[in-house]
């Protein structure tokens, strides 16, 4: 379990769900971690992730420029490098176009899209100061979504923000490939994170089962495994891609 040995990783949205699974997996593979989240409360319940994993935690808002810059600074402190950034933090409003207020739209864009922009910018600035190791100066893994490629049911702001993340990923890959900065996205399909509420309302679960060809829905670990692959030295010739982890949804 040493696929990330010697690497420093900063993970946003790491308190809960998929971000929590990514933190757990990366730690098991030997990475040095800094977790960032707006809260240490775990959406699906239980002890705070950073306490269970016994790793540093930075409470901050990804839509806040100062918080993001500070997170990158702190992440790079122990080793002088930031090898991996995972952008996972997200909010969802769950409303159709005609029900969405401008404030709601702006907040979703601020966290889900501007948050990724701010973190990528801070991370790339840091990475450009680093030497190339194992063919990469640094790596970014953005958590996108199938929503944004297909419609997000009754959630216009979320789907739009995620489409933006996929585009941003490609643009960064193309602009900084020469500098050996690797930037990819992972697009989860329907993942059961243990969250309650809208995510597991019967109508959305039925819809997801009907659309997912594989016999089961996804687990947070499925996404964590894909993020691990893209964050590791095994993926040094893959950049700008959006890897679906969706049980075949997009193939159907």
């Amino acid at each position: 379990m040493t696929r990330l040995a010697g690497k420093t990783a900063l993970i946003t949205g790491a308190s809960s769900g998929i971000g929590r699974a990514i933190a757990t997996r990366f730690l098991a593979e030997g990475a040095t971690l800094l977790l960032m989240d707006i809260t240490e409360a775990v959406v699906e319940g239980g002890e705070p992730t950073h306490k269970i994993l016994d790793v540093p935690f930075f409470q901050g808002d990804v839509s806040n420029e100062k918080d993001v810059d500070e997170a990158v600074r702190r992440a790079a402190l122990p080793t002088g490098r930031l090898d991996i950034v995972v952008n996972d933090a997200v909010i969802r409003i769950g409303k159709k176009l005609t029900d969405t207020s401008l404030e709601e739209w702006n907040r979703v864009m601020a966290v889900n899209l501007a948050g990724v922009f701010l973190m990528c910018r801070a991370a790339v600035r840091q990475m450009l100061t680093q030497e190339i190791r194992h063919e990469a100066r640094g790596r970014i893994v953005n958590i996108s979504s199938q929503h944004g490629m297909i419609s997000s049911p009754e959630d216009v702001s979320y789907g739009t923000s995620k489409a933006g993340v996929v585009y941003l990923t490609r643009q960064i890959a193309a602009d900084y490939g020469r500098d050996s900065i690797i930037c990819n996205a992972v697009a989860p399909g329907k993942i059961l994170t243990g969250k309650t509420g809208r995510a597991v309302e019967p109508r959305w679960l039925d819809y997801s089962h009907a659309r997912t060809p594989l016999p089961r829905l996804g687990r947070s670990e499925d996404v964590a495994n894909a993020a691990l692959f893209l964050a590791s030295d095994e993926a040094t010739f893959i950049t700008g891609e959006n890897l679906m982890v969706d049980g075949g949804w997009m193939a159907g």
Partner: protein, 266 residues
Amino acid sequence: MRLKDRVAIVVGAGQSPGEGMGNGRATALTFAREGAKVLCVDHNLKSAQETVEMIGANQGTAMAFKADVTKEAEIKAMVADAHSRWGRIDILHNNVGVSLSGGDAELLEITEEAFDRCVAINLKSCILAAKHVIPIMRAQKSGAIINISSMAVITTYPYVAYKATKAAMVSFTEQLAYQNAAYGIRANVILPGLMNTPMAVDTRARTFKKTRAEVEAERDAKVPLGKKMGTGWDVANAALFLASDEASFITGVTLPVDGGASVRRG
């Protein structure tokens, strides 16, 4: 070990003459290193045997098998061999492919014979291999199929048979994924970009009467990521991920391994 006790067939596990490591050989070596038993299939038995010897030298388990995968009877025999030898088939990796070396050419130059040959080698082979392996995987209620297509599907590419057959592989893989997901079978396709393999570099050097270094330099310059081609290991690592349980919720995807070349088109 990420493929412990799995049985894999790697079709095209030898390689064209030239320097370095081809995608198929690198994949066979990687699967074996991670604990799989690997049937190394090639029409060039000697080259497949070289792959097996390299695996044996690392204490892995592998057998060479000679098959011309443009013939259904030989594909059937290949599947039967792996199945009777090791009792199951967990992974089918279709790496066979030709372009220039199969006589591929631009539209106005291509002959019917060369076109048919490329279709048989690139497309028919992967479809018929799936045809014979799927009943076994359905009975097992598990399996992973990986087809090696090409970045040529996304970007511009001058020779018609390669582009058309590789694009067809993507559509075929999606349908294969969709119709076999209920059986727990996954099918994904990798699009290698500009790779530093004997097939890609040495074949071009011979065809265009250039040095290997000249062909390398031209191809390196086209890759955004670090201005350098990829290697067979890059494809092998992606195949390992897709073949392993770590990708158990991933099916029907198209994964470019191209150093970002397809992100920037034209």
